[in-house]
Symmetry: C2
Subunit: 320 residues, 2 copies
C-alpha cells in the first residue's frame, strides 16, 4: 500500500500542501485552529512526513557517522552508548562504520560518509593513520569532524580525549608511594599515540630509583606472557597496565602465580570488569560514556555554529 503523503492530508482537509507542512512544523504563519486540525488528523492517521524528501530539500541528513577501527570489548561500547544517547536527545541518529584498523578502509569510510551527506563525523583513527589528508574532502564539503580516543595532533579538527600523560603520571606517583623498587609497565602497540603519551607521562613522574621493565603488548595474551615472565624472573609485584585488555593479562598471570594479594596493579580501566578480578587494583577510570557524550556534544556544537572552530576537549579523570 502506498504510504500517505502531505498532499493526501491536504486534499482531505481542503487546504494546500504548504499549509500542512507549515502546520506540522509549527510555523507561526498558520492559525492555531488550522494547525491543531492538521496535527490531530496527522496523529490519528499516524502520518509522518517522508524524511527523505524533507532531508533532501533541507540538505541535511540528521545522521552522524561514528568511524572507528573496531568495537573492542571495553570502553568503546560505552563510548557508543554515550554518543547515541546524546545524539538521540538531539534528534540525530548514529551510523557505525568499522575500519578494521585498516587505513584504506578508513579512507573508504570517510568517502562513504561524504556521499551519504552525513551531518558530522566522529572519528577514532586506526593505527596506520599518520596524517589527516583524507579528511580534506570533509573540510571542503563542510562536514564537521571530531576526533576521539585514538587521535593525532591536528590544527583543523576538534578532538576529545583524556589527558593521557597526566593520568599516567598519577599512576606513577601512586606507585612511587608504595615503596616498590621494580615495576612492570605494559603499554599498547608502540606506534599508537595513546601509548606514547601515557608512556611519557608515566616515566616523567616515576621515581628515578624504581626499575622499570617495559613491554608493548597488542593483546591480553602478550601482556599475560610478559607479566608471567617478570614474576618468574624478578618476583615483580607491581604492575602498570595501559588498558583493560592489558590488565586482564596481568591479573591472569598474577592469579596463576598465586601472588594475588601481594601484588599491586595500577592502570587504565573502565572499572567494570577488572576490579572484580583483583582487589588491589587502582585505576584511572577511563569512562567511555563521558567521552562519547562530550564528542557528540562537540559535533552538535560544530553543526550548529556557522564558523567551525577547532577545540580540544580534555576529559578529567581520577585515580580510584
Amino acid at each position: 500500500m502506498k504510504p500517505m503523503t502531505i498532499k493526501d492530508l491536504a486534499n482531505f482537509l481542503k487546504v494546500s500542501p504548504s499549509t500542512v507542512s507549515r502546520a506540522l512544523n509549527n510555523h507561526p504563519d498558520i492559525s492555531l485552529e488550522v494547525r491543531l486540525r492538521v496535527q490531530q488528523l496527522a496523529k490519528e492517521l499516524q502520518f509522518k512526513p517522508n524524511s527523505f524528501a524533507a532531508n533532501f530539500r533541507k540538505k541535511q541528513s540528521k545522521l552522524i557517522a561514528v568511524v572507528l577501527p573496531k568495537i573492542y570489548r571495553s570502553f568503546i561500547p560505552d563510548v557508543i552508548e554515550g554518543i547515541t544517547k546524546k545524539l538521540n536527545d538531539n534528534h540525530f541518529q548514529t551510523l557505525i562504520l568499522l575500519t578494521e584498523d585498516l587505513f584504506e578502509r578508513e579512507i573508504e569510510a570517510i568517502n562513504q560518509c561524504c556521499e551519504m551527506r552525513v551531518d558530522g563525523i566522529l572519528l577514532s583513527l586506526c593505527n596506520q593513520t599518520k596524517d589527516l589528508n583524507h579528511l580534506q574532502r570533509c573540510q571542503t564539503i563542510g562536514i564537521p569532524v571530531v576526533l576521539f580516543d585514538n587521535t593525532i595532533k591536528s590544527d583543523c579538527f576538534s578532538s576529545v580525549h583524556i589527558n593521557d600523560a597526566l593520568a599516567a603520571g598519577q599512576c606513577a606517583e601512586f606507585i612511587n608511594k608504595q615503596k616498590v623498587n621494580r615495576v612492570a609497565a605494559i603499554f599498547g602497540p608502540e606506534e599508537l599515540a595513546i601509548s606514547q603519551n601515557r608512556k611519557l607521562g608515566f616515566f616523567s613522574a616515576l621515581a628515578k630509583e624504581i626499575t622499570v621493565d617495559i613491554c608493548y603488548a597488542k593483546d591480553s595474551h602478550e601482556a599475560y606472557t610478559f607479566a608471567n615472565d617478570q614474576i618468574k624472573k624478578h618476583q615483580t609485584c607491581a604492575f602498570f597496565g595501559i588498558s583493560d585488555e592489558v590488565l586482564l593479562g596481568i591479573v591472569s598471570a598474577v592469579n596463576e602465580n598465586k601472588v594475588t594479594n601481594e601484588s599491586l596493579v595500577v592502570g587504565f580501566s573502565d572499572g567494570l570488569t577488572m576490579p572484580f578480578l583483583h582487589r588491589n587494583l587502582h585505576y584511572i577510570n577511563h569512562n567511555g560514556k563521558v567521552i562519547g557524550k562530550a564528542a557528540a556534544a562537540q559535533i552538535l556544537k560544530l553543526i550548529a555554529e556557522d564558523e567551525k572552530l577547532k577545540e580540544d576537549i580534555l576529559i578529567a579523570v581520577e585515580l580510584l
Copy 2:
C-alpha cells in the same frame, strides 16, 4: 561551495543529465564510449551523485537499523561487527538505536525506523517486551524485521539465534561425566526467554542424582555473591554460568576462595576473555560475529525477495 550535480557534468560533457545518470549506473542503453567518458570525468572531478536524491527517487535508504537494549561488554560488540561487515559488503549501512531495555524506547525506536524509511530492522528485544504488536507498522509499510539474540516466538518474523536448550543440554551432559554431585547454576534474569530456554535444556539433560542450586543473577556482582555463598556453604566445586558476565562473577569467587584448580566451570562464553582467567573452563562458544552475519544475511535476503517469508535460523555451536 555548492557541490557538483549531475547536471553540471551533463552540461560540461554536452550530454543530457539522464545520459550521465545511466552512464554512471552502467546502464546498457549507453554506448561504451560515452559511458567511459562520463565515468572518467566523474572520477577526475571526484563527483558522486547525491545519494539523498537517488534514495528519495528510488524509495530506498540503504540503511539497516540495529535496535537493541544496550551494548554489553561481550557478545554484542561481535554481533555488531558481524552485521556491519556483512552489510558493508552489500553496500548497506548500519544504524544503531539503543532502547536501554525500556519498552517505550523500543517502540520509539521502531517508529523512528519507519519514519527514516530504513530498508530493514535487526531487533533484539528488551526484557519487558511481551508481544510484537509494535512491529505491525513495519509489516504494513513493508519493512522486513529479523529478530536476534533476545527474541520471543513469532509466526511473522524471522529470527536468528543459537539452539539455547540444546547447547545448555550439552553443558549438563558434560557435567554429568565429571562425577560431581552438586552444581551451582546461575542464569540471567528469570523473565528472559534466553534464561528459560537454557534452564529447560540444562535441567532436562542433567543427571537426576546431581543436586542443583539455582540463582538468577542480573550482573557479575550477583553471580559472584551467589557463587561465593555456595562455596562457603557446600564446598561447591562445579558451576554453570549462562553468560560471560555471570562467568566472571563465578571465576572471581572461585579465585578468591583459592579453589581455582579444583573447580569446574561450564557455561556460555564468547571465548575471548574468560578462558584467560580460568584454565578449567568449558564453554559453548557463543560467537557473536557468526550470529551477526547470519542476521544480516537474512535481512538482505528478505529485502531482495518480494514475498517475505518467515525463517528461523539456528546457529550451530560446540562445547570447547
